[in-house]
Structures are given as C-alpha cells and as structure tokens.
Amino acid sequence: MKFAILINEGPYTHQASDTAFHFAKAVLARGHEIFRVFFYHDGVNNATRLTTPPQDDRNIVDRWSKLATGSELDMVVCVAAAQRRGIVDDGEMKRNGKDATNLAPGFRISGLGQLVEAGIQADRIVVFGD
C-alpha cells in the first residue's frame, strides 16, 4: 500500500515529528511504500541542517536525512511555509537575495501542489501535528 505523511510541527517542541518518524519506519518495516513526506507549517523547521541537539538527545533532522537517503524517501518542504520561517536552499537563496542556506540533505523545497498530489496518489495520508 502507498502511504503519504504530512508533518505540521517543527522538531523537539512538539512530538509530531517524532511520532511521524517512528510511524514512517514502521510503514517501511511492514513492506509498504512511502510516496512522500510533506513538511508544512512549522514542520518545515525539521529541514534545517543547523541544529545541534544535546549529545544525549536524538538528532531529529539527521534521522530524517538518513532515512531519506537510505530508503529513497521523497521529503518535500513547502516553499511558502519555508519562506515565512527561513528555510532556504540554493535556489531560494538566489531568488530572495539571501546570504546563506540551511536546508539539510535529503529534503527538497517545492510547492503545495506536491501535498495535493500526495493526497491523490497515495492510498493513505496521515497528518501529524498539534
């Protein structure tokens, strides 16, 4: 079965990203496919490579990056939500005249159409938020 996952909250503050991560791993362990993980609202803050969590804590961003590259997950960050909150890749940096990027490996920035497409293509979509 084809799953899609929507994450609406950032790392650490709400449990949403943690629960979504454990859910995503279980989806793959059950032999299902993940069509896409979409990051919206504060969820875009999961995609910054600039975090340095305490050494005895989980590294939420790294965990997603590694899952994406290991399992060829498509992890999409909403461009409008990312602009409001300061998540930037090379293209966005140039387009908006910024002087740095912070997007972590394994994520890409794209439009809300990617979320609607996930709703259309996937058999199930699950929302994790606050």
Binding site: F23, A26, R30, R124, G129
Partner: protein, 97 residues
C-alpha cells in the same frame, strides 16, 4: 474511519469532538493516551462510547507516560506497526489536532 487523537482529554476538546461527530475506530497517541487511564475523569466517556467505537492506544506513548499498568479494559494497545495496520485497515483517517 479511524480517528487519531493526540491531545489530552483534560486540555483539549478533541476527544469530545470526535465522539460526537464520528464512528469507527479511535487511536490515542502522544498526550491523547491519558484518556485511557483507569480512574481519570475521561474513563467514563470512553466506557459510554465503547458500543459505537473501537479504542486503541499507542504502546510507546502509554509507556512513556507511566500508564502501562493503568490501561482500562477494552482498549487494544498497539505498537507503531499496529498503528500502520490500523491506518491500512480503515479506508480513511482523521487526525483531531
């Protein structure tokens, strides 16, 4: 359909709202699991709705909140794999955020 509730019944109206609106299954995750603790004020709400709904709770969250030994009767405790199975089993799901 499957209703996913991640909010404490003492802090948000998510459980009340789901009970009054839907039918099918209710899965408690995150702070939602406080609903299924024996002795709490939410217990009566769940009992009253056990004819209309099937109730599930995510084990990782039950354990994290120290409720392992306090799960009321009639609640199926599932792990993350069971969460996936429930989503697959019900045609649609709604997160009551």
């Amino acid at each position: 359909m499957l209703h996913i509730i991640n909010k404490s019944p003492y802090d948000r109206p998510a459980l009340d709202s789901a009970l009054q609106t839907g039918e099918g299954g209710i899965l408690f995750t995150e702070d939602g699991v406080y609903a299924i603790a024996k002795g709490g004020a939410a217990e009566a709400k769940i009992k009253a709705a056990q004819g209309k709904f099937k109730f599930y709770a995510l084990s990782a969250d039950v354990d994290a909140r120290g409720l392992t030994d306090r799960v009321m009767e009639g609640i199926s405790v599932v792990d993350y794999g069971g969460f996936v199975d429930l989503v697959a089993e019900y045609k649609t799901n709604q997160s009551w955020l």
